[in-house]
C-alpha cells in the first residue's frame, strides 16, 4: 500500500507550468529520487510535499491522510536543504535538538536522542561546534541528523550534496542510504545527478517539463529508457535515427546501412525509430572493410575517465561514443579508421512516431 502519494499534482508560476499533473506512489520505507535537469519541477514537487508551497491542483496524501492544506510546521516532514541551513547561532547539538524542544520533549530524552543521532552521522565529537566551525560535509550531516531527530513521516532531501566536493559527495550519499535503510524511513530525494540517483534509490522518477517521463528501478531506467529524453538524460547513449525496413527480421536502416536489431522485430514497416546503444555495448575495432551491423568512422577524440577511456567516433551524420579499457584504446588513436559494431541483442529501440523532428534534434 502506498505511504506517500502525489495525486495529479499541478503548480503554475504565471504562464509556466512547473508541475503538470504528476502522480507518484511510494511505499513505506522506500527511497525515491526525483531526477531531472534544472527547471523540470523536481524541487517544486518537493516543496509542495514539505508544505512550503501550495499546489494549484491535486492532492498530497501521507499514510492515508490528506496533508495538502496543512501548514509546514504541522506536517512532520524532515527536510535537508541544498544550501547550508543550520541555524548559525546554535551549536550542532542545539541544531539537532531544536525540533525536539519545539515538541517539548523532556530533557533526558532529548539529550539521548541527540547523542544517538550525532553518533549515527559520525559526529559524536563535534556536537559543541558552531556551523562555521564545521566543513560543508559535516554541516550536511548535522542537517540530516536534525531532520531525523523529529522522527519525520517522510524525509525530504533537496540536492543535499550539490555544494560538496566529489569525494565527500560519494561518501555522504552512501551514508544517507545506509541511514535510510537502517531507520526504514520513506525518503524523497531531489537531484540532477543521474549517477547519484541510480546509486542510492529504490525507484527513480525522471522529470522533464513538469511531467514524469518515466518511473522505475534504477536498473530499468538505465537499461530500458521509455522515452528519448530518459535515454539521453540517464547515462550516455548513442542514438541512431532510422526506419524499420523489415519488421519480421528486425532490420532498421540508418544512414543507408542496414542494422539488425532484435528489438525491431514485430515493428511496423517504415516506422521511424531511434536505435539506442550504450557506449560500453558499442564494439570498436580497426576498420576491416565492413561487416554486419558495422558503421565505419574515424576516431576524433579520446578522454581518459579512470576506469575506462571514452572514444568519440565520427560516422557519417552521427557521432558515436564508445567506452573501453585504456589498453584497448591505445590501439585506436585519434585519426584511426574504425568499425563500430552495433550489438543486435543489446540495442534498444524507441519509436519516433508522433515525435516531432525538432524535438528529437533538441535532445
Amino acid at each position: 500500500m502506498a505511504y506517500l502519494e502525489l495525486q495529479k499534482l499541478e503548480r503554475d508560476f504565471g504562464t509556466v507550468k512547473a508541475l503538470d499533473g504528476i502522480e507518484i506512489s511510494l511505499g513505506e520505507g522506500e527511497f525515491l529520487s526525483l531526477l531531472g535537469p534544472s527547471g523540470c519541477g523536481k524541487t517544486t514537487a518537493l516543496r509542495l510535499v514539505a508544505g512550503f508551497d501550495r499546489p494549484d491542483g491535486g492532492r498530497i496524501v501521507v499514510d492515508g491522510r490528506d496533508v495538502t492544506n496543512i501548514s509546514p510546521n504541522k506536517r512532520d516532514m524532515g527536510m535537508v536543504f541544498q544550501a547550508y541551513s543550520l541555524f548559525p547561532n546554535m551549536t550542532a547539538r542545539q541544531n539537532i535538538e531544536f525540533g525536539l524542544r519545539i515538541r517539548r520533549q523532556e530533557k533526558a530524552g532529548r539529550t539521548k536522542r541527540v547523542d544517538d543521532l550525532l553518533e549515527l552521522v559520525g559526529l559524536g565529537h563535534a556536537g559543541d561546534r558552531y556551523p562555521h566551525q564545521l566543513s560543508g560535509g559535516m554541516q550536511q550531516r548535522v542537517a540530516l541528523a536534525r531532520a531525523l531527530a523529529i522522527e519525520p513521516r517522510v524525509l525530504l532531501l533537496d540536492e543535499p550534496l550539490s555544494a560538496l566536493d566529489a569525494k565527500v559527495r560519494v561518501q555522504l550519499r552512501e551514508e544517507i542510504r545506509r541511514i535510510q535503510l537502517e531507520l526504514g524511513i520513506t525518503t524523497l530525494y531531489v537531484t540532477h545527478d543521474q549517477e547519484e540517483a541510480l546509486a542510492i534509490s529504490d525507484h527513480v522518477a525522471v522529470m522533464y517539463g513538469g511531467k514524469i517521463e518515466q518511473m522505475g528501478s534504477p536498473a530499468d531506467m538505465y537499461s530500458s529508457p521509455a522515452t528519448p529524453f530518459v535515454a539521453e538524460f540517464v547515462g550516455t547513449m548513442n542514438r541512431l535515427e532510422g526506419v524499420v525496413v523489415d519488421g519480421a527480421a528486425g532490420h532498421v536502416e540508418h544512414a543507408g546501412i542496414r542494422l539488425n536489431v532484435d528489438a525491431a522485430r514485430g515493428r511496423q514497416h517504415q516506422e521511424r525509430v531511434l536505435v539506442l546503444v550504450r557506449p560500453e555495448a558499442l564494439e570498436l575495432a580497426a576498420e576491416n572493410g565492413g561487416g554486419a551491423n558495422q558503421l565505419a568512422g574515424e576516431v576524433i577524440s579520446q578522454t581518459f575517465l579512470g576506469p575506462v577511456t571514452r572514444l568519440k567516433v565520427s560516422s557519417g551524420a552521427a557521432t558515436l561514443i564508445a567506452d573501453m579499457s585504456a589498453a584497448r584504446a591505445q590501439a585506436l588513436p585519434v585519426g584511426a579508421r574504425v568499425s563500430a559494431t552495433v550489438p543486435a541483442a543489446d540495442a534498444r529501440l524507441l519509436t519516433l512516431e508522433g515525435v516531432a523532428q525538432a524535438a528529437v534534434e533538441e535532445l
Binding site: N73, F87, I102, R103, H132, A147
Partner: protein
Amino acid sequence: MTVRRRIAPSAAVWIFLGVLYFILPLIGTLIFSLHSIDTGKCCTLAAYGYIFHQSAFWHTIRLSFELALETIAISLVLFVPTVYLVHLKFRKLRPVLAFMALIPFVVPPIVLVVGLLDVYRGTPSWYYDHPFGFLGTAYVILAFPYMFFALDAGFRAIDVHTLTEASQNLGASWLTTLVKVILPNIRTAALAGSFLTLATVMGEFTIANLAQFQTFPIFLDLINETQPYGAAALTLISFGITWAAMLSLLFIGRKRGGGGRLIAGAR
C-alpha cells in the same frame, strides 16, 4: 605560534592623526572644564560638582535615556518583523521602504517637528503633552533610517528563506522562528541600529526644543548659556554617559555565544 602584524609607518601616521583629531577637542574641553567657576583658574572639579548638584541634570539625563530606550524598543518591535517580512515575502517593497527611510534625512528636523506638531494637534493630552507620547513618536520617525538600514544589512547577510523554512519544517511557528532563529542572527545589526538610535535621541535638540520638552540637550543648551565651564564639564559627562550606555547595550547584546561570526555559516 602567534604572528605579529607590523603596521606600516604611513598607516601609523594616519592613525596617529586620526586619534589626535578625536582626542584633542576632548582634552581641550577637559582642561577648560577644570577651571574654577569663581576665579577662572585651573585646576578644580568645581564645574563637575556644580553640574552634579543640579536636579535638572539628573531629571533630564534620565528622561533622555528613557526616551532613547523607548525609541529603541518601539523601533525594534516595529521594524524587525517588517524588514523580516519584506525580505521573506515582499521583496518588491524593499525599495519603497528604503525610500521612506530616507525621508527623515531629507526633511530638516525643524520642518519635521512643525509638521508633526500640526498633525498630532488634537490628540489626547496624555499623548500630545507627554514626552513618552509625542516625543517618542517623533524620535521613532527620526530613528527610522538608522534602524531600517542597519536591520536591512543584517537580513541581507543571512539566508532568511532557508532559515525560516528549516525552522518551520522542524515544527516552529512564525513567532518561534522570529524569536529563536531570526533575531539571534541579526543581533549585531539590531545592536548597531540601537546604538545609532541611542546617540540620536541623547543628542536631539530641535524637536524637543520646539515641542517644549525638557530633555538633556535642552539642559545642556541652558547651561552653555549661563555656565561655560559647567557646559564643558557637562559635555564630557554626557559623552561618558552615552558611551557607557552603548557599552552596556553591547554587553547585553553579546552576552550569549554565537553572534556575528555566525553570519558566514548561513551563507
